[in-house]
């Protein structure tokens, strides 16, 4: 049986195709991990974009589209996919995917483009509690993105620069819009880019950490979502949460999509 999980994020679409081969447990991942995901094209609506992404995924995985038994969606645009069988929340999908990859995980931190959240998960991968902020860009990837633009650094460089700094400059502004002016004034004061990058990522980490604290930080802790790729953020978050180890999946953007596909496979 083949199932699909589609994560309709605010910026990009992530798809995982799963073949449940019914032997000795582990289902086989047919498509998703390691494959480039589709950035959400601005001129298409969510359903059209999902159709294109899904067609591509099936073709590349050599899977017959009609043979996909169930398609579950998650993410900001999860209700807008007409061909989906069902949809689940980001919390449900994230917890499921994370616990599948790391069975001992209790706390899932999910930082994507427009949302950051902390999720409490039980051993079966069920989300039991969560705290997040979907109203404000502070504490999400777009905050870091806006600041890297102000610093004229690529997102990759941004994280690397931050790692080279050992200074702690507190950012006063919480709002992304205000923080941008604050970054500009730091640039004018000839503050090294390394230190500014760290100040920004420390600020995002502290906001995210405050959300995760609301559900409680219990080991093992895993970080999922696109911000995993920012090495500076990972370091800042580890420090903010005061944990020795922060688990990082190899393909952090796909964890929610994977959770979706798993849930679709386990529905009877």
């Amino acid at each position: 049986m083949i199932t699909a999980g589609i994560d309709m994020g605010s910026r990009s679409i992530k798809i995982v195709l799963l073949e449940d081969i019914q032997v000795e447990g582990a289902p086989q991942i047919k498509y998703g991990l390691k494959k480039p995901y589709l950035m959400l094209p601005g001129d298409l609506d969510a359903d059209q974009a999902a159709t294109i992404a899904f067609d591509n995924a099936c073709r590349e995985a050599g899977v017959d589209k009609g043979g996909v038994k169930r398609i579950y969606t998650t993410g900001a645009g999860r209700k807008q996919v007409a061909f989906a069988t069902d949809s689940v929340t980001e919390m449900t999908a994230g917890a499921k995917g994370a616990v599948y990859l790391f069975p001992n995980v209790k706390t899932v931190v999910d930082v994507g483009a427009e949302e950051g959240r902390g999720i409490k998960a039980d051993a079966s991968g069920k989300a039991t509690d969560f705290a997040g902020n979907e109203k404000c860009a502070a504490g999400a990837g777009s905050f870091a993105e806006a600041m890297s633009r102000a610093l004229q650094l690529s997102l990759k460089e941004f994280g690397e620069y931050s790692l080279r700094s050992d200074k702690t400059i507190p950012m006063n502004a919480q709002c992304t819009v205000f923080a941008e002016s604050e970054v500009v004034s730091l640039i004018h004061l000839n503050t090294p880019k390394e230190d500014i990058a760290k100040a920004v990522l420390d600020a995002v980490a502290s906001r995210v950490c405050a959300m995760v604290r609301r559900v409680g930080i219990e080991k093992d802790v895993v970080l999922i979502g696109g911000m995993v790729h920012n090495v500076g953020f990972v370091a800042s978050l580890k420090q903010a949460m005061d944990v020795d180890e922060l688990l990082l999946p190899d393909h952090p953007e796909y964890v929610a999509a994977l959770g979706c596909a798993l849930l679709a496979a386990q529905t009877h």
Partner: protein, 303 residues
């Protein structure tokens, strides 16, 4: 894309739509040399700075400009802008009160007073003793203030954490829509029907939502209307937490944007008092009034 269009776009990109007009004014029929007490209020805000001169407790002149990269220079420039217009020197002024975000960084001020107190005092002068509720919509914050008939603050609430509902948020939208900020209000009424507010609170998210609406075929005016409505709803929710009491007065830069003001009036069902004064000078005006009173009472450090 042909070269001409590309060039046009390049020019469009360079234009600073958010840039609002800086103004300086001096009372044409008065002479400061005849005044017994000259007081000055300097409001160094996060986005704009104002200097107000008062001759014997009456408004004499003011200057409103963009805040520079450091507060002392912004204060000096704001004051110089109005003094140059009437040949005054700094030593002619008896008392200077600093207010606003950068109030402790006004090097020549005799005293610093919070902008909440100053806005209430200024609104009391501009709108009269009837004013009870003041909405100050500034560059990077928004305050709802209650005051008594003397302009003394009795209660206030503020949002300074989030750009939604502030002038800075409006500047972002102005740039995004490529419409000069002073025209946004009028443009927001050039719509066939009033659209609902954009659903995002955060300016960063509202920006992407606005782009999505344009792609979905909305006109720029309709998007601006939708954003003005969101801003109005946002500040009304702040005001409602302390209660709106008549009369109601709006200070700060956004008071000049009818797109937001009329929508606020529509939601709360109360019209804001109109004034002939520039709404942006309320803080500095209040500061200058405090300065005048202090001199009068002989409490000034130099008398």
């Amino acid at each position: 894309m042909n070269a001409a269009v590309m060039q046009q776009n390049a020019v469009a990109e360079k234009k600073e739509y958010w840039r609002w007009e800086e103004t300086a004014w001096v009372a044409p029929d008065k002479d400061w040399r005849a005044a017994k007490i000259l007081s000055c209020g300097i409001d160094v805000g996060s986005v704009s700075s104002q200097a107000v001169l008062m001759a014997d407790g009456e408004l004499y002149g003011y200057n409103s400009m963009r805040t520079g990269s450091n507060s002392p220079d912004s204060a000096r420039n704001a004051l110089a802008g109005v003094m140059d217009k009437c040949g005054m020197k700094q030593e002619d002024i008896h008392y200077v009160v600093g207010t606003g975000y950068g109030r402790v960084n006004v090097p020549f001020a005799h005293r610093a007073i919070t902008e909440i107190a100053c806005h209430a005092r200024g609104a009391n002068y501009m709108g009269g003793s009837r004013v009870r509720t003041i909405l100050d919509m500034g560059g990077q914050d928004c305050k709802a203030i209650h005051c008594d008939e003397k302009g003394k603050v009795t209660n206030f609430l503020m949002n300074d954490k989030c750009a939604a509902g502030t002038g800075r948020g409006m500047e972002v939208i102005s740039d995004l829509m490529q419409i000069p900020i002073a025209e946004l209000g009028a443009r927001s009424f050039e719509v066939d029907e009033e659209p609902p507010a954009v659903s995002s609170v955060c300016v960063v998210f509202a920006k992407s939502e606005a782009l999505g609406l344009l792609k979905a075929g909305w006109t720029k005016n309709k998007v601006v209307a939708s954003y003005c409505q969101a801003m109005a709803e946002r500040v009304v929710s702040l005001m409602e937490r302390i209660g709106v009491e008549r009369e109601f007065f709006i200070t700060g830069g956004i008071a000049k944007n009818p797109g937001v003001v009329k929508r606020i009036e529509r939601i709360i069902g109360i019209e804001a008092l109109k004034t002939e004064y520039d709404s942006q000078i309320a803080g500095a005006l209040g500061a200058a009034l405090f300065g005048y009173t202090l001199v009068q009472k002989g409490q000034a450090k130099q008398g």
